[in-house]
Amino acid sequence: MCGIAGIIHRDGPSDMGSELTTMLQSMKHRGPDSTGYALYSEPDDLVTIRFMLAEPNEYGSFGVDERLERNRAEVESRLAKIGAVLATIHSDTGYAFRATVRYDGDLKPLADYLEDIPGCEVLSLGSSLEIVKDLGDAETVLEQYGLDRIRGTHGIGHVRMATESDVDLASAHPYWAYPFADVAVVHNGQLTNYHQWRRRLERSGHRFQSECDSEIIAVYLAEKLAEGTDLQTAMKGSLDDFDGVFTYLVATSNELGIAKDEMAAKPLVLFESDDLVVMASEEMAISALVGREVDTRDPFEREVLTWQV
């Protein structure tokens, strides 16, 4: 069991970090192991990189501080070598970093070059997306990363109850659709043909950060987008290609979509008004955000919906 949530503000940016936290915290019972956010702001000239250099449970152990310092210097050095001009870099936690760079090149070599550094994992890359995820509940992650300062136009989030993979940051959602800028996925469910699709996608040159079945969705959609398929068509295709039970949300810099499998075995509730679209695994998350009774609906089986932001 996991909980997913998404918000679109049609009337401009809002306190997206705080709002998603309110929703995710109300669904803590669906997953206390880790919490993650994909937060979207107005596109910027700069590329924002969210990356980590160690797992949270490694942090503080013997020799890690020196390794982190060395690897951070290596990140800065490699950014310079690949032609990315570093504008800012900071860490809220000591092991997870946020950097902004001026960079016009292809994102894939940039991500690959950074991830070649031992322990380095790029969580997100893009001009409007920032993925923040860590162990613990939503309020813990909000305080750790100062998410109450982050404003945005839309976002998706996830609370995780570990079932088929470990309690660690690599298994936490959202997943960035490497190497595509600003594409992220959160998922509730199980994909039963995970290994089949993983082998197929690996043969096509895609890389995986985790053993988590949810990452397949992000990589699958990334491949479809690379082929020129639009997001909604790619999502509809996923309903035929994936076995199992699932509901997932996907976001790009200007779109947000939901997909529900043919068994409709995983919940999702939707509220839509002129200025707001909100979705969550449980209605209580919508009530917590909106603060009043609203008319909601459950999407049916095999339903795919997308919204332009």
């Binding site: 068994m263 409709a264 209605e283 209580m284 459950d298």
Partner: protein, 262 residues
């Protein structure tokens, strides 16, 4: 280790609300009527207060304000009484009840009235999946759409849906009736043992061993009576479905032979 969150609610180490057996004693009681404002109460406190009022105070008409989509509200009430929710309960609302007449002025989440034994639940809006799961008796009326697997494992009672129903409606139902006024998703009545399903709209597909049947006078009488009781107007033209009785041990076939038959 328990800790206080910003909202002031105490959670235990698993993130669950700490058990506390004391009802909050916050209901406004006026003769045979009472009102519980659930705004600042946890699920446990709401249910404790409801049971105190119905059983200890003998109140027969309770209104719950601001249920806030909390789960498992109004469960296990085994007494005839009226309960009104002004707003939307979450999942598992009114499960295992025996006797109450429940009015929900909102929508509900998954597994409404699971295992209800008698009484009625009327929802003035849509309901999620697994509505009326393992229903044993009583009437369940949804004035809107319902999700997947409505009346799964239904063992009795009646479910009326004025809107559309999702996939596997009536999955493995064993007894009772369902009236779906709108469309029904794939696998209608899949693997049903017995019972009757009436559908007014289009059916995406029938499930295994669910077959069409002829409407007769008793069907019309039953449906008209239920629609009149709940003020639902004139029933739509309905198609009737029942169990074909070739799947579940209704024969002496070996499993391999049964596969051939199906």
């Amino acid at each position: 280790m328990a800790g206080l969150t910003r909202s002031g609610v105490v959670y235990d180490a698993r993130g669950l609300v700490e058990p506390d057996p004391e009802p909050p004693m916050t209901a406004q009681i006026d003769g045979d009527r009472a009102v519980i404002d659930a705004t600042d109460l946890t699920t446990r406190k709401i249910n404790l207060e409801l049971k105190r009022i119905v059983y200890d105070e003998g109140v027969n008409d309770v209104t719950i304000l601001n249920p806030g989509s909390r789960h498992s509200l109004g469960v296990g009430i085994l007494k005839r009484c009226h309960i009104t929710f002004e707003g939307s309960p979450g999942w598992y609302a009114c499960g295992l009840i025996d006797g109450p007449e429940v009015q929900i002025n909102g929508r509900v989440g998954w597994s409404l009235a699971e295992n209800m034994m008698s009484g009625s639940v009327v929802v003035e809006g849509p309901a999620g999946s697994l509505t009326g799961a393992a229903l044993r008796g009583g009437d369940l009326v949804i004035k809107g759409n319902v999700g997947a697997r409505t009346g799964i494992d239904q063992k009795g009672g009646t479910i009326i849906v004025t809107g559309r129903a999702g996939i596997n409606t009536g999955f493995m139902m064993q007894r009772g009736r369902q009236v779906i006024c709108g469309d029904a998703g794939d696998g209608l009545g899949d693997s049903m043992y017995d019972g009757l399903i009436y559908v007014g709209g289009n059916i995406a597909s029938l499930g295994v061993d669910c077959v069409p049947a002829e409407m007769d006078d008793s069907d019309h009488e039953f449906i008209n009576r239920k629609f009149e009781i709940y003020g639902l107007g004139t029933p739509p033209d309905l198609k009737k479905f029942e169990c074909g009785k070739v799947l579940h041990n209704y024969d002496a076939l070996e499993p391999s032979e049964r596969k051939l038959v199906l």
